[in-house]
Amino acid sequence: MARITAGIATSHVPAIGAAIDLGKTQDPYWKPVFDGYEFVKEWVKDNMPDVVILAYNDHASALMLDIVPTFAIGFAEEFLSADEGWGRRPVPVVKNHLDLAAHIAEQLVIDEFDITLINEMDVDHGLTVPLSLVFGQPEEWPCKVIPLAVNVTQFPTPSGERCWKLGEAIRNAVKTFPEDLDVQVWGTGGMSHQLQGTRAGLINAEFDQRFIDLLAHEPEELKYITRLEYLRETGTEGIELIMWLIMRAALGYGVEEKHRFYRVPASNTAVGHVVYEARS
């Protein structure tokens, strides 16, 4: 049977991708950010998943204009890196695990999540920057990836509580997949940042640190943070943190925290990153 073995959360700032692509990771500005990912790059060598279910948000690259799905699963065999206005990131093609994706879609609907399937799309920095941070710059990504796109941009977005339940439903779906697979769930985005208006540049380190403090072992109250509170406390784009809750819920009750990292700034954003192993 398939099992969820671990979870990773990380910010997915586009400038981080640019720093990797342009070979600037050791520059004084970027080195402290990338140092925070040295652990996971080593850890993943011994904890290589067969499949990553990667919760991210599309930044008006493939979605959000004509169609705004709340939760959507990428259902193509493969996905190219999107051209977000400066050319496609030079990263490998992202390859899906269609049988698992189909099984998850089937189970989610039974679990009352009416999931959208996307038969063609490019994937933007929200998905590719986390892959680069964990896997570096390989010729091919070392595992399959199921893109799980979450609307965190256009209100109404889903609530944190709903994201939590989606994570639980994904956990149940994976556990009933007959193939022997190690699956990781990654939650990306955040932490605090606001990319608009006179409040641009907002960072709330206190909120962010507390979120990380509670996420591993006392995540209960994080489920009930309202969308309004995310906006007020973490900026209009800080609400991406609800995708971390999908990851945490998918791991089940007990986790072992292997690593945590927090750093301000990367461009406009507070960078947060955790690595959890599932206990059960």
């Binding site: 256009q154 605090s192 406390e233």
Partner: protein, 134 residues
């Protein structure tokens, strides 16, 4: 019984210097955003740069939206319904970093803004609510 919201929708308008992007705003900016997403192709970026006005006239945007694009007035574009994830494609076409684009709305110079971020960013103190900000 329908479930009720945990806060009034009006409260989303209570955050200083912030427009919450919702379905209505998205509709208002639909053609503006269609223009922005067209910049995801290199040939379109070239066509836009070659003659901005003619390129913009292919889209059913309002005159205000077109003028704000020509002026690179991102704050105005947000006011006219825009969302940064779309608008940043204009900045990328211009070769601006996302930080420079965002800083242009902040009331600070790009250098001042960059320095503020290095020093830990903008504190939320006094900026959570218009009531709090007075």
């Amino acid at each position: 019984m329908p479930r009720t919201r945990l806060y009034s929708l009006d409260e989303l308008d209570d955050i200083p210097g912030t427009k919450v992007f919702n379905a209505r705003r998205s509709r208002e900016a639909y053609h503006l955003h269609k223009f922005c997403m067209s910049l995801m192709k290199a040939e379109n970026r070239e066509a836009f740069k070659a003659d901005e006005r003619t390129y913009l006239d292919q889209f059913k945007m309002t005159e205000d939206q077109k003028q704000a694009v020509l002026d690179r007035d991102l704050a105005k574009l947000i006011e006219l319904g825009g969302n940064m994830y779309f608008l940043v494609k204009i900045a990328s076409t211009d070769g601006w970093s996302a930080q420079k684009a965002v800083s242009s709305m902040s009331g600070m110079s790009a250098d001042e803004y960059a320095q503020m971020m290095l020093e830990g960013g903008r504190s939320p103190e006094g900026l959570r609510s218009k009531k709090e900000a007075k």
